[in-house]
Symmetry: C2
Subunit: 342 residues, 2 copies
Amino acid sequence: MVNGMKVAVNGYGTIGKRIADAVIMQNDLQLSGVSKVTPDYEALILNKIGTNLYVPEQNIKKFEDAGITVSGTIPEMVNSCDIIVDATPGGYGTKYKELYQSAGKPAVFQGGEDANMVDLSFCAMCNYELVSGKKYVRVVSCNTTGILRTIYSLRSFGIKNVQVDIIRRAADPREIKKGPINSITLDPVESPSHHANDVKSVMPDLKIVTRAAIVPTTLMHLHQMTIKFDRKTEKIEVINALLKTPRIVLLSSNSGVHSTAEIMEIARDLGRKRADLPEVAVFEGSINADGDTVLLSYAVHQESIVVPENIDAIRAIQGKVTKDDSIKITDTAMGIKRGYLI
Amino acid sequence: MVNGMKVAVNGYGTIGKRIADAVIMQNDLQLSGVSKVTPDYEALILNKIGTNLYVPEQNIKKFEDAGITVSGTIPEMVNSCDIIVDATPGGYGTKYKELYQSAGKPAVFQGGEDANMVDLSFCAMCNYELVSGKKYVRVVSCNTTGILRTIYSLRSFGIKNVQVDIIRRAADPREIKKGPINSITLDPVESPSHHANDVKSVMPDLKIVTRAAIVPTTLMHLHQMTIKFDRKTEKIEVINALLKTPRIVLLSSNSGVHSTAEIMEIARDLGRKRADLPEVAVFEGSINADGDTVLLSYAVHQESIVVPENIDAIRAIQGKVTKDDSIKITDTAMGIKRGYLI
């Protein structure tokens, strides 16, 4: 659509490149350009696919010396778009906000920024409608998004309290300098981990405690969730609620899947670009209902889970499309599923 | 093409599923079916995409109990095809050969089988023409294929001898029970490793020595190659030879790429299915020419490098298409590149 909203993505890393791809897939949005700081293989790919590349003014020569074509500076990118998605490394978004403000442009930030620097923290299913009239929105982090979708799916049973033990991946597949590579590291030692507060930035009244440990793997996070409901809850009720929630998929008991490696292999086999899985992936066999308490285990693909949320955040700020419509448009365009994964 | 050669793939694991996909992509071949032993997620995917699934007779009930539709037994699959690609685990191909023989069907085996059990060991560029009139052919292993393509590319300079130090990945991404996960393991301690002999099964006169060590990673193998030529050789000659060889790509010096993780990330970014990279990936910056000796480093994607070779082996046995045509048809259908990767 020629008259689509012009979206610029500031920061073309793990999350930024996926958001840029997702913007291109939406009929009502157009990608006006992306920014990068380093002239590396991702910049070469951008040139190859013909996306406008903007860089810091002082780095233009570095890019040109590496044979990479540059469309302009980052302020020029900001001026030429309708809305910015900031996917810069954690903390940089807060610094860039001034630039966005002075250009009068709304912006969507990522979970690496402080919740206080925006008007609202965002998870599409939970609080899409509250964005109306807001200019600066923050999509919560991957782990928080996973918790929120799952809680949202089961909210109708009445949630007394939630505990999540998060087993985090150490680094993304492309990261070659991060660890640990031979340790299980509490992150942090103290509980609750920051995730509980991050969940509350979207669902302020939820009683939740979280802990996190990092393990030497790159593929996905795993959440060990325990929910206490207001009433006795049956396993089949939990399954049925999860099956009908967007952006959640179940790994059927008869699939034999019991690892993040196998989930990622399915994403590869299904031909997903980059083998991404933006859905929360719940192990059906892990669901254990005992009276008012339910245990369940699910995996979160840290590289892609927030991507559809960013697309919805753009539409929520635009204020022309309802929540259900936006989720449906985003998921259809991106091939995001609900129900059993296979 | 309705009259395409009917190909059955026995064994639908890491290699088998990729060969099945590649067969479907060829206009002159059709996939008649595949076999599996275990009713797991890969079987569920086969049902979903509608591929005929054959299983051992004694396992039919197990599959049906898991809700998976079965088309017949493995002998029925063998009888209903024109040629078999055997992608069963190493050693099983030799056992299955009897079945193929009694059905009078030609077969392509993988590098896990002994070289003596076939008429010829195969690498498309090196000995496609020799397959004429042969019935049982073995595509050499991933590491051997990587060595052979590279050597073939540089053969015109006159090769005196070759040494390859192979740094092997420990397991494929989907394998959750293999290691090592915290060791560098000589495999074997003695040199040469079996790869030297495997290379000679295709190039009997080549002087080559190989060593191998396994490291805790899943992505790709890395080869540290040293070639002594009959004459002084310039770096630019090596680059030019590699640039014009099919199924070899160069990682340009200005790309900044210096790891298997980054190569796989590029494969993801390029939208390759399963993030596969069937090409040998040479680090341009690693090429060091000093007199008659050249050092170079390249990566080998163990999951996919032999897939195009299997397709060519089918055509080589069929005997109707020339080597250059087959390589071109295969590579065009599969999107396999030469030249700089990006």
